[in-house]
Symmetry: C2
Subunit: 268 residues, 2 copies
Amino acid sequence: MEIIGEKINATRKNIENAIRERDASFIQDLVRKQAEAGANYLDVNSGMPLYPEEEADDFAWLVPLIQEVADIPICIDSAYPLVIETALKLHQGRAMINSVNGDPKSMESIFPLAKQYECKVIALTSSREAGIPSNSTGRLKVAEKIAKEAQHHGIPLENIYFDPLVLPLSTDHKNAAVFLETLREIKASLAPARTISGLSNISYGLPKRKRVNHAFFVLAVECGMDAAILDPTDREIMAMVPVTELLMGKDPDCAEYLIAYREGRFNI
Amino acid sequence: MEIIGEKINATRKNIENAIRERDASFIQDLVRKQAEAGANYLDVNSGMPLYPEEEADDFAWLVPLIQEVADIPICIDSAYPLVIETALKLHQGRAMINSVNGDPKSMESIFPLAKQYECKVIALTSSREAGIPSNSTGRLKVAEKIAKEAQHHGIPLENIYFDPLVLPLSTDHKNAAVFLETLREIKASLAPARTISGLSNISYGLPKRKRVNHAFFVLAVECGMDAAILDPTDREIMAMVPVTELLMGKDPDCAEYLIAYREGRFNI
């Protein structure tokens, strides 16, 4: 299971302020905390500046700043190819791009960058044309189109992380089932492509969200989720990782589980 | 999801004492608590008296005692046909028998009773000949044999609750995966037969058992478990029921989940 730390995201006010004010120690503290908690990538989203040039400036400041304190690749979370390219030029090691979707325009601008920099790419199973299809068949169709186009650009499928898109249960009680079905189908028909998700949207609008999120995490892993975008400093959700891998039969001698226990990772 | 309350089990010392001393109020208190907590059946196991006749006496005392305070069927948990028959004669409504297995002798003694009293029957996917098969194929084979024999006795498959048998992860890290695979295969090939399990054995010998048990519950429901033998007064595990059913797409408008929330069932 790969963990993409979600905390450097300027849609949260205090992060936005830190980026605008170039508060290096605030950002580097978030980097260290997520790296220590076990993140394999750090998602970086600088919010929505008025101009892409401004967002590119943010990334030009953020990328070296982050890599100065942790040897951990960045997941470049931006809508603009200009921003992504700026970040990739400065990035050490293989970055991840967040994200491409099924629009021809999106694929035409992102895939050449992904090819040139040998990146991994998060691919959303949506497009302007199809929207977010309401069933797994529709989402799989978008994924297949993206997979074909990626291969056409010479990008190996194992570098594509499909995100089947989580919509809240509060708007449709079938949303978790559709997501899990899509995960299963992508794994069955597009391997070695990988799967990824930010899961917490599932419980939006419901009370006691954590219970729903934790159980959803377990089910998503069982259905083939390879990576998750989450807060790695949330010890409760991180404790679900060794538990779930143990239950999937992936932990010989329960070794990883027992290490997690001895390190106190279950003492929450 | 059907819940079989597990608390009236004389392998626990205080229950054994209450049965030996015919402490009616102690037993009836356990009945009330489990019924109020949402049990659909109450498992009753009077321990291991030296003679079946003694165990039959226990049940002759227990069955009317239990049914006096709660209108809830009993799951008669005994190895002896004599005991089961004694209980069935006194039981009001349709009981459940715990259990039959793949041995011809077991089926020949249990199925006629199940037919006569129109009972439900828990069927273990093991036999003296096969033991507990180490893989799902072997367990499914035992289940198929039991299903065939049940139908031969005129017992409809929906009255059979297959228990794919949980062995601890601490003895083999594949034990959860084999169990879940067996669950899936039974549901796929023996429907409308049902499935049942006492799940907690999975974490035997491990630290922090609850985390493992809760995640295992979620996975088992996803793989098709219809009923669980557990402690219904354990509010944490009971809270997993509405959460999991919501995530399976079985709770329109999140109605049951919101009722559970409003009733304070998540305030643990």
